[in-house]
Structure formats: structure tokens, C-alpha cells
């Protein structure tokens, strides 16, 4: 009796291991092959421009508005704390460093996953469900090259540019709140910022982060769409997975990248 229960438990563990862990390994390997094929797939320049418009340009508004408000809030909170110590002239430094190093890349990537990543997944998923991808490959055109690759590269290219825009808008937002509303001296705001921000250490590292995030988020998005179960529920699950996996990957990778770049 006890042995039977023991075997049952062992069996269910085995099944759990097989489905979850081995399934994950298999998925991960398949997505690796997938992204390699995508990276080296040649495609027309025109398709890339179309996709940069769809994933990049159309994400501009949400990125800019979010950046502005994050700048506002950071300015307010920073002023509240720093002014207690009479250090409010260092607000420029606080804003610029926190935004270029962390908030810019991370928040842009999270917003990008929600706005563009989910759209990519559901678009590709629906193309799969309606057999458009199959009909394309039956015409001798590789969908990885014609559909996936331009979207993938558009994401990788758009993300650093969006991050730059986000950071610039957020710093401007912080500037308006702190200088024009709370009365911080404009000269000390900008000069402290200039003195403390290093292009290579801060701005460039932030851009490298955003490039990594762009790669990972777009990879997850197109892979989830390409491998989704071809039903309406399957698309819904794939879209959810895109946002969840992307967010987790962004936050996890951010820790490692920060440790690599800024850790001692």
C-alpha cells in the first residue's frame, strides 16, 4: 500500500518533470533555432521600414506620455526627499542617473512589451490560425524570412530609439516640475547633471540594456505568435505569455546587466 502511494508520487513527479522541465528545454532549444534562422534571414528593406513604423512609431505616444509623467513624479519625490537635506540642487543628477541607467530602459521595455509585443504575437498568431503562414510557405516563400525577420529586426532597432526618447522626455518632465514649479535653480539643475552623467558609463550602458531588452522582448513576441495553438484561445494564451514572459525577462535581465555594468 505504502509502496503503491510512493510509486504514484514518483510517477506524478516524473510526469511533472517531463512536461515542465523537459518541455521547457525543448521549447528553449526550438526558439533558439528559430531566432538564428530569423537573424540570418534576408528580406527587403521596405518591409523593415513598414514594421519599424508599426512597432516603433506607433508606440511613440505611449512612450512619450509615460516618460513625461515618470519625470514629473520623480521630480516631485526627489524634491521632497532632497530638500529636507537642502540638497535640491542635486535633483538634476538624481533624475538623469536614475532615468538613463534604469527607468528609461526598463519602463520603455515593459511598455513596449505591452504595446508592440502583444500586437506582434496576436498578428502572427492570427496569420497562423488563418493559414496565411502555411499558404506563404506553400508558395515557396519562407515566413521566417518574409514575416518574422522584418518584425524581429524592427523591434531590436526601435527599442533603443524609444528608450532615448523616453529618457529625454522624462528628464524634461522632471525639469519642468522641479525648476518651474518647485523653484529649484535651473543652473544647478543642468550643471550638476552635466557634471555627473558620463556618456559611456550611463547613457551607453542604458542603451546596451535597451538593445538586450529589445532583442529578448521581440524574440519572445514573434516566437509565441509563430508557435501558438491555432485557435482563438491559443492566440489569447500566447499574447498573455508574451507580456508575462517579457516582463519577467526584462526585470530579471536588468538585475544581471546592472550587476555586470555597475556592480563592484
Amino acid at each position: 500500500m505504502l509502496l503503491k502511494i510512493f510509486i504514484k508520487i514518483l510517477e506524478s513527479w516524473g510526469r511533472y518533470f517531463r512536461i515542465n522541465f523537459l518541455g521547457f528545454c525543448q521549447d528553449f532549444g526550438a526558439s533558439g533555432v528559430f531566432v538564428l534562422r530569423t537573424i540570418f534571414g534576408l528580406f527587403g528593406f521596405r518591409y523593415l521600414i513598414n514594421q519599424i513604423y508599426a512597432v516603433g512609431v506607433l508606440s511613440l505616444i505611449i512612450i512619450a506620455v509615460s516618460g513625461l509623467f515618470i519625470g514629473f513624479v520623480l521630480g516631485l519625490q526627489g524634491f521632497y526627499t532632497l530638500s529636507r537635506f537642502g540638497a535640491d540642487q542635486f535633483l538634476g543628477q538624481l533624475l538623469a542617473l536614475s532615468i538613463t541607467r534604469e527607468l528609461g530602459p526598463v519602463v520603455t521595455a515593459l511598455l513596449f512589451a505591452g504595446r508592440a509585443g502583444s500586437a506582434l504575437t496576436s498578428e502572427i498568431g492570427l496569420m497562423k490560425t488563418t493559414e496565411q503562414l502555411s499558404s506563404m510557405s506553400m508558395m515557396g516563400v519562407d515566413p521566417l524570412r518574409r514575416v518574422i525577420a522584418p518584425r524581429f529586426w524592427a523591434g531590436v532597432i526601435s527599442m533603443p530609439l524609444l528608450t532615448l526618447i523616453f529618457s529625454a522626455v522624462a528628464i524634461l518632465g522632471g525639469y519642468f516640475v522641479t525648476v518651474h514649479w518647485l523653484g529649484v535653480n535651473a543652473g544647478s539643475f543642468w550643471s550638476n547633471m552635466q557634471a555627473s552623467v558620463n556618456f559611456r558609463d550611463d547613457v551607453l550602458n542604458g542603451l546596451i540594456k535597451s538593445l538586450v531588452f529589445g532583442f529578448v522582448v521581440t524574440w519572445i513576441s514573434v516566437y509565441q505568435g509563430y508557435t501558438c495553438h491555432p485557435t482563438s484561445q491559443g492566440i489569447a494564451i500566447a499574447t498573455t505569455k508574451t507580456v508575462v514572459y517579457s516582463s519577467l525577462a526584462i526585470l530579471g535581465l536588468d538585475f544581471f546587466l546592472t550587476a555586470l555594468m555597475f556592480g563592484k
Binding site: 496565411q132 499558404s135 510557405s137 508558395m139 516563400v141
Partner: protein
């Protein structure tokens, strides 16, 4: 992709093809060969895997065991690039049409030409309009797929499938959802295309009368096996009860209409069978 065929060799050969989807065995060993220049029909009840058979021929699926040879090439052995160039020589008309929804009818038909040829735009325009004229939709060139009826979408898909003048054309249920007029036109079209372009046509369908009116060769598929093969006349005279039931559309016979289910008495909670 080197091997070429002689004129009389079969263009598609399936040898002992076994295929299963998950736990379910769909094909238990299919053997068939498709002769060049003919219209071959593959018929069978719904759910016997007729569409799957076409996907195996097109290399969209790989058999669990056995061999699929198309135009002399073993599909499973081809590299990715060779498989895509082989597919340029065959066309598949999907049941749903599978048109690209973000392109107009014109762009859909022009798609393969633009991808695979370096033809000037003016020539592409002429070819596309000729193909659309053949299916009677030259006037619909600027419509989007969402503005087409199901039957029209299928005809656009047909124009798109023949855009590159393939050697093999596969039709997946071309007659479902067509009104009597377009049905008549379509039947004539398939026949004409086959003769005029020297195509080999493979039709997967369960519309017995329409198919028998144009097919040269018929295979009947049931329970994962080919149960009959011959000209339409031979098939109609086939004494095998399964074939007879299918060809004559009889409700009772060896092929069950009902999906396997528990006993009626059990499902409706009846106490005894009296």
C-alpha cells in the same frame, strides 16, 4: 534537389506512409502514385485526413514513417531551401483560401511573382490580370479579402496558386461553399487549367458527383488506408461495401455516421433496455 523525372513517371509517390497526430493514428500505411497530366481525386468521409495528405505532399508535415516523393524528390530529405524551391513548382489551394488579409486581391496574386521573379511591374500587372480574368475577378482587383465572399476568396486563391504556373496543383475541398454557377465555372476551370497548362491536378473532396465528372483517377480513403483506386466508372461499380456506401451516400453501412459514443441507455440514464 537534383533528381528530374521522365515524362511518364508519377509526379507524386507515397510509399507506406504512416502519420499520427498525438496519440491518434491518422494514416496506417498509405500507398499511392499520381500520374502526370491527369486529374486525380482523393475522396473519403470527413475526418479521414484528406487535408493532412495534401500537407504531407507539400512538406508542411513530415510522415512518422514511410516516404513521400514529389517530382522525384524525397520531401523529408530536402534542406529547407530546397523544400522552398520545390514548392515553387507546386500550388496548394487552401480550403479557406488563406489570402493575405493585409493585401488587396491584386497584391495577393502578385505576391509569388514579386518574391520569386525579377519581372518588371508592367509584366507582373499583365500576368496578374490574366490570372484574375481566368477566375472572373479582374474587376475585384482592388478589394481586400475581407470584402470578398467565401466563394470569391477561393477563386482569388486559385488565381494566386497558378500565378507561378506550377507543375502540380492541389485543391483542398474546392467545391464546398460554391453556388451552382461558380461551381460549374470552377469545374470547367479546373479541367481547362489541367489541359491548357499541362498541370497535374490533385483534388481532395467529398463531392462525389462533381469530382467524378472531371477526375481521371480516383482514390478512396477510409480509416487511414486507401480502400479503392480506379477510374470514376470503376469506383462507382466497386462492390466493396465501404466504397459503395460512400459513393452512393447511404446512411447505413460499414462506415459509421455516429462518432463513437457510450451506450444511449447509459447517457440518458435509462434503467433497462425494455
Amino acid at each position: 534537389m537534383k533528381s528530374e523525372l521522365n515524362a511518364e513517371d508519377p509526379v507524386v509517390v507515397l510509399k507506406d506512409v504512416v502519420f499520427s497526430r498525438g496519440e491518434k493514428l491518422i494514416f496506417k500505411g498509405i500507398n499511392l502514385s499520381i500520374q502526370p497530366g491527369k486529374i486525380t481525386a482523393i475522396m473519403g468521409p470527413s475526418g479521414t485526413g484528406k487535408t493532412t495528405l495534401l500537407q504531407l505532399m507539400g512538406g508542411l508535415l513530415t510522415p512518422s514513417s514511410g516516404e513521400v516523393k514529389v517530382l522525384g524528390n524525397t520531401v523529408a530529405d530536402l534542406s529547407r531551401g530546397d523544400l522552398f524551391s520545390l514548392r515553387q513548382r507546386m500550388g496548394l489551394l487552401f480550403q479557406s483560401g488563406a489570402l493575405f488579409t493585409d493585401m488587396t486581391v491584386f497584391e495577393n496574386v502578385a505576391f509569388a511573382l514579386r518574391e520569386h521573379t525579377q519581372l518588371p511591374e508592367s509584366m507582373i500587372r499583365d500576368i496578374v490580370l490574366m490570372k484574375l480574368q481566368a477566375v472572373g475577378l479582374r474587376g475585384a482587383r482592388n478589394l481586400y479579402p475581407s470584402e470578398l465572399s467565401g466563394g470569391m476568396a477561393r477563386r482569388v486563391a486559385l488565381a494566386r496558386a497558378v500565378a507561378l504556373d506550377p507543375e502540380i496543383l492541389m485543391y483542398d475541398e474546392p467545391f464546398t461553399g460554391q453556388d451552382p454557377i461558380s461551381m460549374g465555372v470552377l469545374i470547367k476551370l479546373i479541367k481547362t487549367l489541367n489541359q491548357a497548362m499541362g498541370l497535374t491536378s490533385i483534388i481532395v473532396s467529398h463531392d462525389v458527383h462533381e469530382v467524378c465528372s472531371i477526375a481521371d483517377d480516383v482514390f478512396i480513403l477510409s480509416d487511414g488506408l486507401i480502400i479503392a483506386h480506379g477510374t470514376p466508372e470503376e469506383i462507382l461499380k466497386d462492390p466493396d461495401p465501404k466504397t459503395r456506401q460512400f459513393m452512393l451516400g447511404e446512411p447505413d453501412g460499414p462506415v459509421a455516421f455516429d462518432y463513437p459514443a457510450p451506450d444511449l441507455y447509459f447517457d440518458f440514464d435509462l434503467k433497462d433496455k425494455t
